[in-house]
Amino acid sequence: MTTAPTAGRTTRAGAVGTAHTRVEGRDKVTGAARYAADLPFADLAHGHLVLSTVARGRIRSVRTADVLDMPGVLTVLHHGNAPRLDTDYVGMLGVPPDPTAAVFQHDRIPHAGWPVALVVAETPEQAREAAEALVVTYERQPHDTAFHAGRPDAYPADGHMPAVTEKGDLEAELAACAHVVDEEYTTPEEHHAMMEPHAATARWDGGRLEVVDSNQGTTWVADDLVRMFSLEPSAVRVRSEHVGGGFGSKGLRAHQVSAVMAATALRRPVRVVLTRRQMFSLTGYRSPTAQRVRLGADADGRLRALEHRSLNQTSTVWEFVEPGAGPARVMYDADAHRTANEVVRLDVPSPTWMRAPGEAPGSFALEAALDELAERCGVDPIELRLRNEPGRGPVSGLPFAGHNLAACFREGARRFGWADRDPRPGVRREGRLLLGTGTAAASFPAGAMPSTAAVTAQADGTFTVRIAAADIGTGARTALTLVAADALRVAPERVRVRIGDSDFGPAMIAGGSAGTRSWSWAVTAAAEELRDRLVPGAAVPPEGITVRSDTTAAIGALTPKERHSFGAQFAEVAVDVTTGEVRVRRMLGVFAAGRIVNPLTARSQLVGGMTWGISMALHEEAVRDRASGGLYGADLAGYHVATHADVPAIEADWVDDPDPDDPVGVKGLGEVGIVGAAAAVANAVWHATGVRHRSLPIRPDRVLRAGGPRV
């Protein structure tokens, strides 16, 4: 039981804050829940994409004749016969579309695994067989996929934030500092690797285009399709009922666009499902980063100089910035403060948003550097961070809407037993193992984006909420059920939440850790107005009473502030320096992430993020083969994510942290769980071995090469 903290509202017991299992949980575990590639359609045809085998060049020919004679083959779409698309627009998230999704528009090949054709057949097997048989010839050109620090062709790029911020005289401050850290950190190419592959079915029905898809925002994808195919907004409907993970990758991709092209050409429903291997080049990824952090502090650890530069790669067709220097603009202030995000364009697939874009790799470098500074200053790593808490946004100068990092560290340190920690590295032994503990701070922006919702009171006393939200496995559908129930002051059992349908009107995507907050705001606004309209004792008419909301004005009226979730990460590791194996023994994360709507799924989200942090620290790495320009081992046997055996007891909890400016008090916690987690593990590896690992993942061969104290 909890109380609604929002000022000016009636304090009462409610559903928000109490643990509820997923409302669709039974459907999911019994197989009743249908995912995008499961739904049956009459007369369905199947498309299979053909991807380029060269990393740069031009298509010379697509030899369709032989393939068109193969059993069941209906058509082959390619740059020579595909309809022209409009890509000259800025989409819902404020960026132009990634041309990788706008398939078959020209003969140029900008990277290995670029879509060159779609083979459509009566069955998926026939389509795949024919796609693999299709001969495409290329004019091959030299490619460059070599990502590394110091590329002369790197340039500062804005993305969603200014490329460069700076104040003060960095070199002068550094020269005057008692302690200086100046190190380079790298993170590798990482992939979303969600369970459910991208899949879409497109069909024309009574003059409307309907796309059944697996995505993170139906109005987002619908908006892109409307613009790309120059259709009336009312002529496109996108549905996405259940989604087996997204992590930033499930927006408009080649599968929806090619399915729409084929459905239009064949005048029948067409489904395109990506293979796991295709996902590695068509659906985005987290760019590798090369980061340099320079910290200067006075004798007691107070920062006087901070510089964080982060370089990432992007494709030659789309600019994506992985803003690793972003966290430093929020976390730490210094008299001289400089941050810069740079990109280099290579012959590689386009990267994209992946869980905590910027914060995940950026926090690794920054929080590892803080740990190194703590070592040099002889100050406890937590104390160092507390001494450097900024009173206002270090770059923006804005006040924080809540800054509960210290509370997270205090509670975390108490539970983890931090006070008993011996700071010396390389001195705890257990048989052949060296043991160590580490900590790191986490933050992630807490935003809200305009959304619309409709809430209907039905004559039978139940309520239906309609909102184009997406539940990508997070528990959003359940969270919104609880939020609506509280706003309506009814039990959650009387509320049905319908999501994943662009016909419900514009809404925020499941992304930016802003889904639940943005949708809850819209649902609360509509539900409260509906409650006011319902006359006690009066019958609801058969057609029900519906109230719609639009939060655009309310969100636009928010006072500018630094709004963030925070967290403190703790890890204990055991390292066998004779084999190089690193195993995490326990992890604890304590977060300040706004009011918690559903503790059950909130904990699951945070633990999921921390688990990914282990995976990022120790396992995940996509390896690009320089000779071919493609990935080496692009499957889930070659791309290692943490297994159950790699994941120890992970504890995630939170401190009281309601956002006073939000109607429900929500901030958002989809991403903050991964932030700082890899740094906490890496810092623990140093504490265990005395060796700093500044390149992720911390593989056995790296540990072996680095050596360490003999056990």
Binding site: G580, A634, A645, P700
Partner: protein, 330 residues
């Protein structure tokens, strides 16, 4: 995936006859490797002969104190068998170190020995690979080879054999039985795999169309004190980057008999006979274990990015032999 014909065999002669020496036909065991390779186009058989229901799933002691393992026994059954766990504990440990529970329930002993390398160039049909497409080249030598061979490889191929089970079988002198249209035959496991040389596409010495029917382990009292230790890049569900199967018989502080085999360092399970010779008669002490490892690894020819394997194998040999020696001393 192209269409293929499928037949299930009822008995061993029937299976061999169904295959008929057809180079485009394959025996299908648990399918945990072959079916994956068919999906990716590495294997494109016209016909499959399913041998999984052949009456070859028995695991039974031999009269002389050894063990006979049928080729269609599953990995799960092999690892759980009490005589395996008692007489050859390293074998049970090796099997359990591989794959996942679901895969081990499907995978067969015969299929395990004949599984293909997981080299990422071999499994990617768009890449050159001398093993998959003879003469096309080996990109691993100058490309990605962090988990490739340091022993017994050539410029033509540096892929490693992925089996864990095979490493333990190699240490215990396993003999592989097979059936052909011309009658049965046998090969010691050591002789099953051909040297890489300039023909990495020729992997085994089995006659064309031969069906592996079983594996026999001769009696090996030394194996009762044995261990399999696998190092991989995550704690489970990954192939080894280095592994050791070891058995040790120590009397009065002196090694009377040692068995040692390495995994993930060569195109086959690598029986470390040079190290065994150094160990035999030597004091059961860490420096001698290290010397034995060094003697074996003197033949290592690491590439720029896999030299760590030499250090890893040396450390593993010392660690595992030390543990076995400590056990013996207790």
């Amino acid at each position: 995936m192209r269409e293929f014909a499928y037949r299930r065999a009822d008995d061993v002669p029937g299976a061999v006859a169904l295959l008929g020496g057809d180079p485009d036909a394959r025996y299908l065991g648990g399918g945990t490797n072959l079916v994956d390779l068919m999906k990716t186009g590495v294997e494109r058989p016209a016909r499959l002969v399913d041998v999984r229901r052949l009456p070859l799933d028995r695991i039974e002691p031999t009269d002389d104190g050894g063990l006979r393992i049928g080729a269609t026994a599953t990995n799960s059954d092999l690892a759980a068998h009490p005589e395996v766990r008692r007489r050859y504990p390293a074998l049970a440990q090796a099997v359990l170190a591989g794959a996942s529970g679901q895969l081990r329930n499907m995978a067969t002993v015969g299929g395990n020995l004949l599984q293909r390398t997981r080299c990422g160039y071999f499994t990617d049909v768009t890449a050159p690979c001398n093993k998959r497409a003879p003469g096309s080249g080996c990109p691993a030598v100058s490309g990605e080879h962090r988990n490739h061979a340091v022993l017994g490889a050539s410029d033509h191929c540096v892929a490693v054999h992925p089996s864990d089970m095979g490493v333990a079988l190699a240490a215990f002198d396993a003999v592989v039985s097979y059936e052909t249209a011309d009658g049965p035959g046998e090969l010691p496991l050591d002789g099953l795999y051909l040297p890489v040389g300039d023909t990495p596409h020729r992997e085994t010495a089995l006659p064309a169309g031969a069906l592996v029917t079983g594996v026999t382990l001769p009696p090996a009292p030394v194996a009762a004190r044995s261990r399999y230790r696998k190092v991989r890049e995550r704690a489970s569900y990954a192939f080894a980057i280095g592994s050791v199967a070891a058995a040790l018989d120590v009397s009065n502080g002196v090694v009377r008999e040692a068995r040692l085999a390495f995994g993930a360092v060569a195109s086959r399970p690598w029986r470390a006979r040079t190290a065994e010779r150094v160990l035999t008669g030597a004091p059961a002490a860490e420096e001698y274990f290290a010397a034995a490892a060094d003697a074996e690894l003197a033949a290592a020819r690491p590439l720029p990015d896999n030299g760590y394997k030499v250090t890893l194998m040396r450390n593993l040999v010392v660690a595992v032999l030390s543990e076995l020696a400590e056990e013996a001393a207790r």
